[in-house]
Symmetry: none
Subunit: 463 residues, 2 copies
């Protein structure tokens, strides 16, 4: 029979020590497959331990498949595979090369940043506390797959009031960011070929590639997505940004909107995805009504996000499906749990409901308009050599060299003055040459923007 020295000072309970000891014997082959373990009683007597201890050890061995019991009482050793791979835990993988940026910048005019001043921390904290206090039971219930119903109703009200859209809460699907929702759409519309505006922000193309979904990049003209380009492809679903194209800033003409709606209505299974991203930020003109409100509402999938108006790290976006697709969604995709925390859906609902969201947007528009104005004013000395675009909406400007400087030159000169700007060509799929840089201003305060602009004037003044 086994001899076991129990470690008194050991932190392991006795039954675990016994379990480990027998396991070792089995793994070393000293207790061969088929061998019968001593009865629990005998083992307990032999080792001067309680019967319960032996029972627990045997149960653990049995649970892990080292032994099996037959005829109720007797335990036999089971055949255990010999390991060909080392069971010893490997060294943790070496740290990767630290990603030291090649260059330090004083000012980064990235378009992906937002104002740190903008987020309404105190109100959000209050609403979060209220949600946790008042709605504790419902917070723990499973959330409907499309998202919290009360939040969806608030979104419907908001869209009616500010975007002239008449939709129902059943059509709304809340998701963890636009990219999540785009992914869902590729599953909702299997076999569809997607058309993308070119240039574009990088995500949609990468999502389609990663999901092995076919897509075509369509060039832009002055009115928006090129219809001639679109009809040349097999695309059945076009992803467009009619309110404000990123990064060109183009607002889609009404003529083009109508043409696209006609294109979509011409064949079953055709849809337009209207990404209304950034539509909240219009400074010069009144908001353009969305594509969605122009047509019958049967062909347009409307997408928007709270990422740009609240915080990038709060992952809440939504889409509005046409009624036909909404039924399809319920049949095909409602098995997916809503990926957004119910706690935050509840806080956001209170935020919109209480009128905080509207006030917040007004404050942000003023904040960003002031930033844009400082930037434009301080860039004025460049007006002779560069043309400016994109100032009416969104949170970035485009600056194009009138003499056709390649963008690399502009980026390099700016970098020498410790300011980071971004080339337009990087937003194109495929090769493109450009003389345009993009300047995002949402992430810096007015004083910083003034300094950054002064450095750009110094860098490019000779242009």
């Amino acid at each position: 029979m086994l001899t076991i020295t129990f470690e008194d000072q050991g932190r392991q309970p006795l039954y675990q020590q016994l379990y480990s000891r027998i396991k070792e014997e089995i793994e070393a082959g000293r207790l061969a497959a088929g061998a019968r373990l001593p009865s629990k009683r005998k083992m307990a007597d032999h080792l001067k331990i309680s019967l319960t201890t032996v029972e627990n050890a045997y149960a653990q061995l049995s649970l892990e498949g080292y032994v099996a019991s037959r005829e109720k009482r007797a335990y036999y050793v089971r055949p255990v595979e010999k390991m060909t791979i080392s069971p010893v835990a490997p060294e943790p993988p070496r740290a990767r090369v630290p990603r030291v940026p090649a260059r330090r910048y004083l000012f980064d005019l990235s378009t992906s940043r937002v104002s740190l001043k903008g987020f309404p921390f105190s109100i959000w904290t209050k609403l979060m506390r209220e949600s946790l206090r008042d709605e504790s039971a419902s917070l723990l219930e499973p959330v409907p797959p499309q998202g919290d119903l009360a939040l969806r109703r608030e979104i419907v009200n908001y869209l009616r009031q500010f975007r002239s859209m008449r939709v129902t809460a059943e059509q709304v699907v809340v998701g963890a960011g636009t990219e999540y929702l785009l992914g869902l759409l590729t599953e909702l519309l299997p076999g569809a070929v997607f058309a993308l505006e070119n240039p574009n922000y990088h995500k949609p193309a990468r999502i389609f590639q990663s999901r092995r979904v076919k897509f075509a990049a369509i060039s832009m003209d002055q009115e928006g997505l090129s219809l001639a380009g679109l009809t040349k492809t097999q695309a059945s679903v076009a992803l467009v940004t009619p309110s404000h194209h990123f990064p060109l800033g183009t607002v889609m003409s009404v003529g083009r909107r109508r043409q696209l709606l006609q294109w979509a209505a011409a064949r079953p299974g055709r849809y337009l995805i209207e990404d209304d991203y950034d539509s909240e930020y219009r400074f010069a003109l009144k908001p353009v009504p969305p594509l969605h409100s122009l047509g019958s509402g049967q062909q347009v999938i409307y997408l928007n996000t709270f990422t740009r108006t609240l915080a990038p790290s709060l992952r809440i976006a939504y889409m509005v499906l046409p009624p036909g697709l909404s039924e399809l969604y319920e049949r095909k995709l409602a098995f997916y749990a809503c990926p957004v925390s119910e706690f935050e859906q509840c806080a956001l609902r209170k935020f919109i409901e209480g009128g905080y969201y509207e006030r917040h947007l007004n404050r942000l528009r003023n904040l960003y308009r002031a930033r844009r104005d400082v930037l434009m004013q301080r860039l004025a000395p460049l007006a002779g050599a560069f043309s400016l675009a994109g100032q009416a909406a969104g949170l970035h400007l485009l600056l194009t060299s009138r003499q056709g400087w390649p963008e690399e030159k502009m980026i390099r000169l700016a970098a020498q003055n410790e300011v980071r700007v971004y080339g337009l060509s990087s937003y194109y799929l495929g090769r493109a040459a450009a003389s345009t840089v993009i300047i995002g201003y949402a992430g810096l305060e007015e004083a910083e923007l003034g300094q950054a602009a002064a450095r750009l004037v110094a860098a490019w003044g000779g242009g």
Copy 2:
């Protein structure tokens, strides 16, 4: 050679008809193991169909393990264990019936509910307030795609302490629920054929269907996922639940764990996805070490979630990638923004860091153990007619009729007493008959469970 009458009016493509016909022959034993199929060319000539049609049919048979090809061209019938399921089963189209429950229940013993008492509201509120107050700047910064680094470090500590795993924060990816992470894995491993345990909870199969990813459902035996079943398929990635199978409660034996690790190590590109779901809830015995800690760590993708231990509506899960896949992730998928709110990642990090999570788990274990005990005690009068399983872990029991009552009968009689229980067969892909019902006890309090159990005894007492 086979004679096949193709149905012209049939909705099925020709290759599927051919595939089904050959499959029938194999399952009926008319095409015996070892028999050689006619060459593709001969089959095509014989049936007057295209070579491609035959190729597609053979490929499908091969994928599902009915035939194997040797010496490049010839296909042989493989020994088929009786298949009760057809992989890639099409989803039965659900009618959009009005969602009025046909029947009202006093007690719903669903496995998807958790305790409303369990969630630590006051601590969570405090930590959320602290996060919003102290970390306001970092909350607004873009989050690393894999999730908040400090949270990932806490997860690494937790895994080392409680699951004997040695991993680094670089290997951890935080996502909005297990289903989100499974979706990412289908993109990380394009072309992989996934193997699922059958029975299983429904989500993985639906995700794979929705993403049009190939998968095979593999039967379970006493030790876990059937290795024989697995090796008959073309599967390269097996999703398993070694700690505690849902719904059967099986704990995978060490022998089977080793066999699976060897299977995975035998060919590059093979992986095991270890879903460690529910491993926190063990009442009788010490936790079984994860598959991950048994092997070299190169073949196992570890998955776990906070959904079952915190709240289903807090969508936070994570996976640990082996170093090779972690680098691949960074190259291929790091463009996806982390879908989990940084606010909640921050609160969760503080929750683990402050020791609250460990205490919370201990409290939950006690709470659920008490609920289980009440339920078992009150179900004792049924012991003669029903056998009980699954009491050692997880949050549900399995009750099987010793006389082979069909589960429908048990469900119906329970419903007449206003208690809702769930049939085991609904967790199988494909047809299955069972005499077992599943009783989840996490969502009801002790007094309610006592009443529900008394009603079950009344309902089934004659059994």
